[in-house]
Amino acid sequence: MAVFLIRRLMQSVLVLIVISVLVFLGIFAVGNPVDILISADATEQEREIVIRSFGLDRPLWEQYIHFLGQAFQGDLGKSYVFNEPALRLIFKRMPATLELAAAAMVIAVCMGIPLGILAGWKPHAPFARVIMAGSILGFSLPTFWVGLMFIMLFAVILGWLPASGRGQTVEFLGISVSFLTRDGLAHLLMPALNLSLFKWSLAIRLTRAEVREVLLTDYIKFAYAKGLSGTRVLLVHVLKNILVPIVTVLGIELGNVIAFAVVTETIFAWPGMGKLLIDSIAVLDRPVIVAYLMVIVTMFIVINLVVDILYSVLDPRIQVGEKR
């Protein structure tokens, strides 16, 4: 286990370095920061002073080392727009995104897995067909368009739910959250539902496929032969065995949801870090773009690592750290 962990950690650091090189090259070499930093009517001498003070006259690799050194100290530059450290901005917006993503995953799991079990249990029953047709629709619906239609239906026509923003928030364990107030919950419901649609159908399909496979195994036949009731077989014997792949996939999907939150946040004006990214791209606020990318890549690496470890804990047949 220790060897596996160390190897995986080293791999993660390598990935992070590769990504940082790509982002660095993209942002600092392709675009020219000098044009943004210096006004157009500056003299040649002023230009040179600024270029030297930012270290832009040095070779690229030296600039990169400098960037990396700053990054290790948690300094990814200041936002041009907010004049605040970019990293602090990202972390300020992160709780909103995480809350949205978590709410979406809860909806997807609580609705998707039971429906998937139903669909896999009696695959030819009419309700199973309805569920599967719904899941194809859920896969095909473009998230952003569904979001707009939600706004049209629930906010404009019916007037039940607010169309944008986070609503009233309260402090919970030091972070401000929406789901504990009535107003906040009303604001959260529509974006969370919108973000969960895709994962919802994924959970249905995954669960159904797993259930169908597990129902054919000998231990299920044996469980029936013992005289156990259908419900017990389904809830104990089947559920236990389908959880591993589902947890893995949904774990990986958590990162996916955070990435896709960019879209939902833009539609519902949810003040998370995804909306910050889109706003920053629009005004070319480069330090914020870099900070977002580095933060989210780090997050992904951590999520993938945690999923790998969870995998081995949930399924003792999988031995981590050994070569396949």
Partner: protein
């Protein structure tokens, strides 16, 4: 008497030959494939819908009521007309108009053209790149294979939209840039699929026979190995095209995909979203509906293809 017997005999023989030919023809993989496909009415309908959409997109300059990007044909007085309203020049706008008096039906047809073009071109290039790397890796093994699969694993650990966001944040807007971003997000799926089936096929007897005939490696890979890896590739390609259309629309909606001069469906929806709160639903509703129908039809075709091409589910 003898003559009639002969004639009978010839007739029977001819009948036998015909039925032999017929049964022979039914045994070709393509025939069997078509027969299997036609079994599902939903899939046939979906394919028909997709072909219609595809043709409408290809011929959009011919069939649309106006050229939505020719300013001479637009009249600003016709802006924000609801569906089926008559314009100032007597033209009926069946799906309404947008803020510049543009016929939404024409806008959708032109948008479909851009969306489908971008998705298919990027899918084809990704298919060629990913497919080649996958099959060569599987055939030769070694360092190239290890390296390709490392990159594939790494890349599939990140969601496509994130990779596209990173690339477009760095590269900027443009048709070429979004095609590039879509290629980068897709090639890994093709590489993995082809490699998976090629690894199985590689150990079969016909590959040994081909190697025994001392054919060149290029010929073995592309004439013998590749054709047998195509079925799963078709399934992945259909699903990926649908995903590419959806992803491109999403990125354009976010304002980081296609430029305003080359409007796809995503951009139309994005334009319409500003007027949603004032109840002018049609500007973003109908482009979205077109997008939805396109994606659903492709996904239904892909779903059925997967069922009939999956050897494990074959009757």
């Amino acid at each position: 008497m003898g003559k009639k017997d002969d004639a009978d005999f010839i007739m029977v023989l001819a009948g036998n030959i015909v039925s032999a030919i017929q049964s022979n023809m039914q045994e070709t993989p393509l025939r069997r494939f078509i027969c299997d496909y036609v079994e599902s009415k939903i899939a046939v309908g979906a394919l028909g819908v997709f072909i219609l959409i595809f043709l409408a997109a290809v011929f959009s300059p011919v069939i649309s009521p106006q050229n939505p990007y020719d300013l001479n044909q637009l009249s600003i007085l016709d802006n924000h007309l609801p569906p089926a309203a008559k314009g100032i020049k007597g033209m009926t706008y069946w799906l309404g108009t947008d803020d510049q008096g543009r016929d939404m039906l024409s806008g959708i047809l032109y948008g479909l053209r851009t969306s489908i073009f971008v998705a298919i071109v990027s899918a084809l290039i990704a298919l060629v790149i990913g497919g080649s790397l996958g099959i060569i890796g599987a055939y030769k093994g070694g360092r190239l294979d290890t390296l390709t699969m490392r990159v594939v694993d790494l890349q599939l650990g990140f969601p496509a939209i994130l990779i596209a966001l990173i690339l477009l944040a760095l590269l900027g807007k443009g048709v070429d840039k979004i095609i590039m971003a879509l290629i980068v997000t897709q090639w890994a799926y093709y590489a993995r699929t082809v490699r998976g089936s090629a690894l199985v096929e590689r150990n079969k007897a016909y590959m040994e026979a081909a190697a025994g005939m001392v054919l060149t490696p290029v010929r073995i890979v592309f004439r013998h190995l590749l054709p047998n890896c195509i079925p799963p590739l078709i399934v992945v390609a259909t699903m990926r095209v649908a995903y590419a259309i959806s992803l491109e629309a999403t990125l354009s909606f976010l304002g980081i995909g296609l430029p305003v001069t080359q409007p796809s469906l995503g951009l139309l929806i994005s334009n319409g979203s500003e007027y949603l709160l004032s109840g002018k639903y049609w500007v973003s509703f109908y482009p979205g509906l077109a997008l939805l129908i396109t994606i659903v039809s492709i996904n239904l075709v892909g779903d059925h293809l997967r069922d009939i091409l999956n050897p494990r589910l074959q009757k």
